[in-house]
Amino acid sequence: MPQTRSVDESFLALPLSALTDAALTRAVDLGCEHADIRVERIRTQTISLRDARPEAVTDGEDLGLAVRVVHEGTWGFAAGVVLTAAEAVRLAEEAVVVAKVSAAINTDRVELAPEPVYADATYVSDYEIDPFDVPDADKTGLLAEFSERLLAADGVEHARASCMHVKEQKYYADTTGTRTRQQRVRIHPDLTALTVDRATGSFESMRTLAPPAGRGWEYLTGTGWDWDPELSELPELLREKTKAPSVEAGRYDLVIDPSNLWLTIHESIGHATELDRALGYEAAYAGTSFATPDQLGTLQYGSPLLQITGDRTATHGLSTVGWDDEGVAGQEWDIVKDGVLVGYQVDRNMARLRGLPRSNGCAFADSPGHVPVQRMANVSLRPAPDGPSTDEIIGGVERGIYVVGDKSWSIDMQRYNFQFTGQRFYRIEDGKLAGQLRDVAYQATTTDFWGSMSVVGGPQTYVLGGAFNCGKAQPGQAAPVSHGCPTARFDQVSILNTVQEAGR
């Protein structure tokens, strides 16, 4: 199909060149060695239904501009919402004031690693139907129909449905001459069925596995996800879960489905290989990393089967872009090769600090009002080229648990100790699934866990999972990111019983 998508005319009609000239000229006049301007318009709609009835439809648009400068080796940043040349000049001046106030506490001179100039460049993400072109009534109607299907099943007492979709338009210009225009669309549909046992006061829920994706409304109508089987299976899977036995705590071989494993990759590899964390920039908030730069090339992160890449290029990836918020083009690179740490996610200042020739394009902000920081690329586990299917992996396990879907997640500030739950856990006995289990959590230390990976599934098991809400930085910023992975097997992982953990 020929590429027909383009950046919306209404965004290109904003006075982008006039704002650029005003801000960058003023910044240069004030002695800045670098200045950039970002103009962003982010449209967000969230539709939520409770028991198939509309709970809320919110439609927001965040339009603003930001000027960032390097003045005498110190960052300065200012943001506003008035798109006039006078305001762009004021922001350039304010950014310089911020740099001057901050100079009192700056000892690291900011310098940016070089990047080619992209004088007039455009990127539009890969989607078919702009969700904002679909009438609200149609969107709400489809979610109501999905909800009704769940509610019609025996035992489902409540259903929740939500869909969040975002269209992000971004213009970037800097003093080297780069000028980029981008438009990205993403969508996150979510349905949950809930059952309540009034007599005992117990309740249980189960959520769809459809991951958020860099796609348009077509994702709800059959492209990229098959909703019909999932919606028809969910009530019976939920019923089975409520009747399932509570797990016996202990060590088990785990077969982890991509619908769960993506989040473990996100937390224990994605964040741990952000160089700003390893250098301590996030030490007081998101945390640091056990994977310190002195161990680059030597740290045994996991078993030799572990191949991890970072990319900002995967089709439908949530972190996929043309250029980042420092004008660096999207790339793909190795983070873990044959089990050994070989790379980080960096921005331009950190690339220069580390002596790298170039940034790998991981600086971005979540909105026009926030400063770009080093954020996450799509960080993915490569499938084994001729690897087994999920059934074949399960077939090789004598006594274990098959883990499906993500739910609760928590990991420490150095990315060692984690605990995850899931949507469904199946007992594996002699290579076969033997019914669901309840009250399961798995707990491990990152390098032990990845070191225990003994089988990696083939490309036929690969799924691109992800999230809209990866949190980092102060002030807090939320970023969308994808993680692709195959099914994989992990030997002798610690399983907790969450009812026992609660002291019951």
Binding site: P54, E282, A284, N417, A473, T498
Partner: protein, 462 residues
């Protein structure tokens, strides 16, 4: 082109309405921040924004529907109002429809006055003091990390029922994290503030220095249940999660920890053995919060139809007994129970408490003294079991004195159960939550003593 004021924008949106009713609010927001790592600045910023939210209410014959549309800056009024009305017509009848509020709540501010402001200058004294603290830390061979932020939000809310309400919300926070150069020792101090006038960098730095001293001796302890002193900050993060879960509708529908087996909710149940009161009060000194509701989108715990509703002081737990859950007017009508409003502050207190946190430490024979909690996530909604990590200081107390720093732990605990098992509370003091301070800063909490806190596993992190 002169820019419309926030009040003019509210009036223009209301005047452009062709719907049955409309609520519009404009929030003018200004903020400034500094962030530092390893005794040096990392990022900073000064931001201004204006958001305009128009909620239109349209009765298509089957019941009132609502549509909420928000834009930043100074949007085209006709387009914005039309988008909101179209959203309402498309939405279908709202389950939470009730007549809009027409009576002005007490405590609203001066409608005609300009919005409150802040700028980077709020740090004019703070930044040099911080620079001095960096120098002192460097001299001790230690590193400081952290963040300081000040914001001012002024909201003007108008309705077609005649409300013209204004509220100002200053919010400020400082976090100071001290580390040894190899990051193996790590401690924290923090505070919330309305204006930075009460913030003493020297006092925060002294607290960090004291705890770095406590960390000189390292003690490894295994997982297990320990007598634990939860300081006010740690208590606040657990109580905020509890507060966010206090939705009456979820409880009445049997789907949260406050549901009663057999039906209904647990209001009237004793949750704490100590006479603990969990409450919110928009007038609490130093933690002042909006005295009326501002709701952009309906949920189980808030309704767009309740915009402008008075948010008075309320007890959620009174002397250990569950007293109220969060209940919008529409749900209150279906349950013949009172409507209640969540306020943006939270106070836990034992009014009979006679000791300070330091005195509780002195009275401890052997126990763990925590600093903060981190990465708190829900494991089991049935019991409200939460997991998370201890962070930046687990200290061993022996015979009333801190004798060293212990490794971190992953915990699995329910805040509801902890209230039931706490055996002592200190006097309440203002504190900064660690985990949730991006969203919630206005808290006052006691230290709690829990005889058997569940440290589920060891975390090697520091």
């Amino acid at each position: 082109m002169s820019r419309m004021t926030a009040q003019e924008l509210v009036e223009a949106c209301l005047a452009a309405s062709t719907a049955d009713a409309q609520i519009t609010y404009v929030t003018e927001h200004a903020e400034a921040n500094l962030r530092w790592a390893a005794n040096s600045l990392t990022t900073n910023g000064a931001m201004r924004s204006r958001s305009v939210v128009v909620i239109s209410f349209v009765d298509g014959g089957a019941g009132m529907a609502a549509g909420s549309v928000s834009r930043t800056g100074t949007p085209d009024v006709a387009e914005l109002v039309a988008a909101s009305e179209r959203a309402a017509r498309d939405a279908g009848p709202a389950e939470d429809a009730v007549p809009l509020v027409a009576e002005a709540p007490p405590g609203a501010g001066d409608w005609s006055a300009d919005p409150a402001e802040t700028s980077i200058e709020v740090f004019a004294e703070f930044a040099p003091a911080l620079g001095q603290a960096f120098g002192e830390a460097r001299d001790r061979g230690e590193l400081l990390f952290g963040f300081a932020e000040h914001s001012m939000s002024t909201t003007y809310l108008g309705s077609s029922t005649g409300l013209r309400l204004r509220t100002d919300q200053p919010t400020g926070r400082v976090e100071l994290n001290g580390k040894s150069p190899d990051f193996s020792r790590s401690v924290w101090s923090g505070t919330s503030t309305r204006d930075f006038r009460n913030v003493s960098v020297a006092a925060l730095a002294a607290d960090v220095e004291k705890k770095m001293g406590w960390s000189q001796r390292r003690i490894d302890l295994p997982a297990g249940r320990y007598e634990t002193l939860l300081p006010p900050s740690a208590v606040s993060d657990l109580m905020i999660y509890l507060y966010w879960t206090m939705e009456a509708r979820d409880a009445d529908e049997g789907r949260n920890v406050f549901a009663r087996a057999g039906g209904g909710n647990r209001i009237g149940d004793r949750l704490a053995e100590l006479p603990l009161t969990l409450r919110s009060d928009p007038a609490y000194a130093g933690l002042e919060a909006a005295p009326f509701q501002v709701v952009p989108a309906s949920s189980g715990s808030a309704s767009v139809f309740d915009n402008g509703l008075a948010a008075p002081a309320i007890d959620w737990i009174s002397d250990g007994v569950l007293t109220n859950l969060v209940r919008p007017r529409s749900w209150a009508l279906t349950q013949t129970a009172p409507a209640t409003v969540a306020v943006d502050n939270l106070i836990l207190e034992d009014r009979s408490a006679a000791v300070d946190p330091a005195e509780m430490v002195v009275a401890t024979e052997r126990g763990l003294l925590l600093t903060t909690l981190w990465y708190i996530r829900e494991v089991d909604p049935q019991t409200l079991l939460l997991t998370g990590l201890t962070r930046d200081g687990v200290f061993l107390v022996e015979n009333g004195e801190v004798t060293g720093a212990v490794n971190n732990f992953r915990f699995n605990e329910s805040p509801v159960d902890l209230l039931g098992r706490a055996v002592q509370a200190s006097r309440t003091e203002r504190t900064l939550p660690r985990e949730w301070n991006d969203w919630f800063t206005r808290t006052a909490m006691p230290m709690l003593r829990v005889p058997d806190f569940n440290m589920s596993s060891v975390s090697p992190a520091s």
